[in-house]
């Protein structure tokens, strides 16, 4: 399924924010959770995470794992929580409007 890459990237950011908001997670885990639902190259998640950290929406901390080396966990900052809420709102609005366009079939077009 070849969907517009930029479009996917934007959605990917929202998915990551939402999943991290549900529970702090490490990169691999997050990649699995996203690709469970959305067809995506898992490697694309890390640049997104880096940007979220850089812009102050996420923090990271290291935590020992039972199997092997410690892992980098991602958690939302307060700013990130607010940003996520806002994006969710925009996203739902956006999707609802596009769906309405499909249903109404652009009847306003003369």
């Amino acid at each position: 399924m070849e969907v517009n890459v930029q479009f996917k990237k934007g959605v990917l950011e929202l998915c990551c924010l939402f999943l991290i908001h549900k529970k702090d997670q490490y990169g691999y885990e997050l990649a699995q959770h996203v690709s469970q639902y959305v067809e995506v190259a898992e490697g694309a998640i890390y640049p997104v995470l880096r940007r979220l950290v850089k812009e102050g929406y996420c923090d990271t901390y290291l935590k020992e794992s039972t199997e092997g080396p410690s892992r980098k966990y991602y958690q939302l900052t307060v700013k990130g929580e607010m940003y996520m809420t806002e994006l969710m709102f925009e996203w739902k609005d956006f999707v609802a409007n596009v769906n309405r366009l499909f249903v109404e079939g652009g009847e306003q077009i003369g």
Binding site: L14, E42, G43, A44, R50, G68, R71, K72, E90
Partner: protein
């Protein structure tokens, strides 16, 4: 392609980056491989799921060259200069406090009216049952009661239509005003 080949190619493609940053990025992917292997995947499988180093590198480099591919994101990114700070939001909140109290109280009382109408409608529609009960229990069938009941049911239909219309109008008003408030707080245009 195995893990070593993947990481080498990625490192090569990111040669232009600051060494510190390159190391961090590669560390993220190494951790990904480690976690994947722990869960029993082969290196080839993990590489397949990751996508090509070329794609990833282009992703990262696009970030850098402040050409901001973000402009083509359809998700609104908060534009820094226009972003309203917490102080501003508090200001908006305080300024809107009184109007909000007034408007929401009004909305609430209108909802009360709507609830009254709903109650009346239900009552009107229940009248025939009362009529039947009365006729059966009291053995008293009165023509004037029958016509009265028919009249009241007719009234019920009128109330029903009015109630639906009022409920719709109230939902639109309530949702619309709330949305307006949210946008005021966020301080940005609705258009993506």
């Amino acid at each position: 392609m195995d893990k070593t080949e993947f990481l080498n190619e990625l490192a090569l493609k990111l040669a232009g980056l600051d060494p510190e940053e390159r190391k961090e990025i590669l560390a993220d992917y190494m951790e990904h491989f480690a976690a994947g292997e722990t869960s029993g995947k082969s290196e080839q499988e993990i590489v397949f799921d990751l996508g090509t180093p070329d794609e990833i590198a282009r992703d990262i480099l696009a970030e850098r060259g402040e050409s901001l591919p973000e402009d083509s994101y359809y998700v609104p990114r908060p534009s820094q200069p226009k972003k309203r700070g917490a102080g501003f939001k508090v200001g908006v909140f305080l300024a809107m406090l009184i109007p909000n109290l007034v408007v929401y109280s009004l909305l609430l009382s209108f909802w009360g009216v709507v609830a009254g109408f709903i109650g009346s409608t239900v009552g009107f529609f229940l009248t025939p049952f009362g009529f039947i009960l009365d006729a059966v229990l009291n053995q008293a069938f009165e023509w004037y009661k029958l016509f009265g009941t028919i009249g009241i049911v007719g009234l019920g239909f009128i109330f029903f239509v009015v109630t639906i219309w009022m409920t719709k109008a109230m939902i639109i008003a309530t949702v619309g005003y709330t949305k307006f408030n949210i946008h005021l707080m966020k301080g940005e245009s609705k258009h993506v």
